[in-house]
Symmetry: D2
Subunit: 366 residues, 4 copies
């Protein structure tokens, strides 16, 4: 079952609401003997942290992670090593701005899960989105920081490639620019910053919001991970990405474009390299054939819908069955997709780490 | 674990290769007391069956399903009723055309799983694609025929909405046309048949292939199915659809389009109906908010890549590490996406049936 | 997978070591709308808490549970109600007596998991038994306190029925005596206290230890829970009980005695009651037939081995491959089985709660 | 979920009723490249097959297994090799003796699952015990034959050690005697045959039945398999054995005896061997410490209740709520425990194979 858990051998369980005392995760099944530091995890959390530019929510959260179990500390006092037992991580909720939830407690905000929670559970925690709060994704990022260490040599990076009507110029792709201080968008195209900024300022000032497309690339993934049918690597990556709030579509490699082209255009041809190893002449497949990794970079993209919290009133109903107009007040993300980049990376890293262990389990081949 | 099993309470395990004696599935966890007939299952299989037009593979398979366990027969000798124990279904492989696999046994066909199987398992069953054969999907369709009965009142239908560069005109959408004898494409648009036929004839005669986009709509899905985080209904639908061979992308509701629009445009507003029940003014969300069904139709689309088996030679390598040119001989599907329609329906039905039982288990609310 | 998780619909994941900052659990899949109080959980923990008599370890732990997620607080400020999202609970480790682990860090204590941890993981947290510490069971007891609320009307109670060579007189069975302040043994037989106390004082003073047999009885379990084959209710109860540290045997109903008697003696005959409901004339089956509950009390027993920590030196080896003599110093439980009573109750409650939800999911019949 | 599936990486799903056309299993997750023959599987089935002596049911079933998927045939036409895809096996039901089930269809036989099936499912397949038929265990034995090949060097053997009031003399233990043509009891004690035969003839002629205790020993199990908490090797062995029909108790190593002795008596001391490897001076633990294998033989025992089908009328009720007297007619096993020996071996082999793959997955250490 997977209400709040994902993965099989590398398993992540998250818990916590936006307005409770804390949230966190338990990472189970991590191999023993993996060295890491608290900073490795905190650095990833800091990339996701709100409040770092005017383009993301102004909620102020330090998002300091505490490690509660599953590791030993080496003599230097800094290096930690996994023991193979569950790693529990906890993040305090600090900025629980007190406010009157009177109306929101009863109204169903369009695009939010308010109505569906009531349909499912018969009750809901209306404070801050409850379990559906974007804060839950901090736990994923923390787990992903561990997952990155599981597959030797793997590097997982992500980039925002489109925001609303604006897209990057892929010819300008520069991974190094993504961590740049002048890049609040996780865009790999330095030339896109100004256009994105102007566009999003307009959206923000209008009290509106806009969607985004994120691309995740995992390099150093050994060939052979995945399974032909219901444990396809691309299937589990898609599942993990679709579990992120507000994601409405996922594609692998050339994705929906594959539906528009011919078999000749789509084929990734192969040749033997001078090093005696086969190589591919292209990567339309996104590094996965028949559900199994090819050794090429694994490429996935996902679409994030515009934040549903907007200043323009929208028609809705309330719990008692009355028509109401709903308007979001206060802080909100004009483009929630921006901060989805490190989250997407984490989810892809977790999927691959799980398949790495599964592959080793079944075949002993890595 | 889920190498060859999917679902939690409504679980499907499939087995079998294209060139073995048979293939089949075990459906576990089906509620007891569900009435069905052998014809219910056979009818679905017949929709997926190859050889029904010049546009699909000419392999001749009767695909007759045999029911081996999990049911009682009522006095009429026709009505079957589930007992709650595993339902085993078996389909013989009849048309295993004997041929010389000499080259294919050693060559890695571009776009196929040949190379990745060898990377994963160190050996492979090269006959007919082994486990990755499209024949495996017959087992899914059989399981889906049972799943359709699990949720009272649910109707799951699918349609091909694009083929290569050609798309349907959604204004002409007519579900009834899909089963029409003059419709070899599962298109809901009568006006598209001629254009699709001409286009695909050209593709077929050129020994080429082309991709497709399929849309699945599930009506009669009660509100409340799914979960906020890692058991989202859309996540499990996406996972199920991505597990189909050749699928490279999945989207829910307006999908990737959601990334291009604003929060105002994307919001599905609500009002109270004259019947005292809330209703939605639109369905951009595809019937799912926050991972939980809204009661609206659930809408999913998936992209199928062009068949990799084409007559034009492609560059590749073989097992011994030599460069080779690979060309597929014999029968092939010019657009494998056509027959994906009943498969997609089955996978969506299975996902919803599973969530229906999970929701009933946790909440007792249906 | 189930390294640190058990249950399917009612799922419990525990984490934490004896000598880390804290330990805890995440209870996932709990139905929404269940009312409980913090005291309900704390009371169960207090029953398991060490240091309450001279017969159990003198480690002083308040074992105060903190609730971190998954509930709403009602207006009285005391009543809590589950929301259906994961319930995270945390218990601080307070009494981590600082000591020199020099020898134990390298020696393999007979009967402990020291050697096997090194064989499995290549390293281990030698402080306080690491993950195998009896403290882990506090998390189970907390989870069990929630599980008790899931099945309406269910009451799960346990009793120590034998300690080493001494057994209770079942004719004296009095459930009410178990919570008595003069009963440090969870024995249901008032007459056994003196004998147990004298016997265990002897064991304790000799620096020795002794095993015990615990019986758990769950009343109010509706008929129909379980499954005929690999989801038998007795199987999952046995699995849950065997997962408790130091448990070496489990039996259901008359258990091993069933192997010694005839079919006539073992049959639980039935008759119709005056209330129009069938009843059983005996309960050799322990409330479970063919893996499914009968509606009678569910009865399970488990054997706990003597604590391996004893003062008499035992032959062993150390990490470097030298012969050593190992002797435990400091506090220890002379009969670890005593405190296993509330743990066994919790594990049985969790198994039944899970099957209650599974049964409701598949059949809709409760 | 595990209604009809067990194992995580090495997974077995069984299906089929006694009176349907066939029964079978799907073994998923088996490593690729394992060599075996059809005879390897058939030989195990033949050991379990009924009708081989007057002491077991006279139902005549050839129990011929058919392999349907998951293997390649080597050039010799006899050696099979696993491909890593699901292995489907099928056994026809041949001897479905036609009879009038009139009464049994309505009566609840004491000790059988008749009443509980109706409570669970609201209906049942009364023919031959439905899913609870002992025939289902043939599928387990077939799966176990594969599992035995997964762990290099592992040998799993079983023996009947007690039947009703009679026990073997362990001093006479001779594994080789178990396959002896003059040994219809799977007893390892040649001297016990006459006593068992006389005793069981008396039971049989009286139309009665009697229980048994079976011991399974797995040698060649590497140290390190299992997990400290909810994936203990002994827990999963216990779960697997408890899933066998009629099993009411399971113990590991000295089991319930451990509850009666002291820590000194129970400790398995260690010393370094001349080969530079540690060895144990005893094996009270049954090869498992803290849930993890020690490298010693893994020892488990289970208690089988007497067959509930007996000739003496027993009091019961029927579906319409009337008191009835139930008497079994026709063939029955006077001691169903005898044939449980190969079943127990299979279930232990499956549990260890699964943990072998899990251990390899998490740690890469075997």
């Amino acid at each position: 079952m997977s209400h709040n858990t994902f993965g099989h051998l590398f398993r992540v369980t998250t818990w916590g609401e936006s307005h409770g005392p804390s949230l966190g995760c338990v990472v189970d099944g991590c191999p023993p003997g993996i060295r890491f530091t608290l900073k490795d995890i905190q650095d990833e959390l800091d990339r996701r942290r709100p409040g770092q530019s005017r383009f993301v929510t102004q909620r102020r959260e330090p998002d300091e992670v505490r490690l509660l179990s599953g590791f030993l500390t080496e003599e230097d006092g800094v290096t930690l090593v996994t023991t193979g037992t569950p790693i529990s991580m906890l993040i305090e909720n600090v900025d629980q701005r007190s406010k009157d939830y009177g109306e929101i407690a009863r109204q169903y905000r369009p695009g939010h899960a308010d109505y569906t929670y009531d349909m499912k559970y018969g009750l809901r925690d209306y404070r801050g989105g409850g379990r559906s709060s974007a804060r839950e994704t901090a736990a994923r990022v923390a787990a992903g920081a561990i997952a990155r260490k599981v597959v030797p040599g793997m590097v997982v990076r992500g980039a925002l490639v489109a925001m609303g009507e604006k897209s990057i110029d892929r010819a300008n792709w520069d991974w190094d620019f993504i961590g740049d201080a002048e890049n609040p968008f996780f865009t790999p195209d330095r030339g896109s910053v100004t256009a994105f900024a102007e566009y999003l300022d307009g959206v923000r000032k209008a009290g509106s919001s806009v969607g985004a497309v994120i691309e995740i690339v995992a390099e150093g993934v050994p060939a052979g991970l995945g399974a032909p049918i219901y444990g396809k690597l691309d299937q589990d990556i898609a599942s993990n990405l679709m579990s992120i709030n507000a994601v409405k579509g996922v594609e692998i490699g050339n994705g929906f474009e594959a539906a528009r082209i011919t078999g000749e255009q789509n084929a990734d041809e192969m040749r033997m390299g001078n090093d005696g190893k086969p190589f591919f002449l292209s990567n339309h497949a996104g590094g996965i054939l028949g559900g199994i990794s090819t050794g090429q970079p694994v490429v996935a993209r996902f679409a994030v819908k515009p934040t549903s919290s907007i200043l323009t009133p929208r028609k809705s109903v309330d719990k008692s069955g009355s028509d109401v107009d709903v308007m979001t007040k206060g802080r909100h993300d004009p483009c929630v997709g921006i901060r989805a980049v490190p989250i997407g990376e984490a989810m892809v890293a977790c999927a691959i780490a799980d398949h790495y262990l599964r592959h080793r389990g079944q075949t002993g081949r890595v």
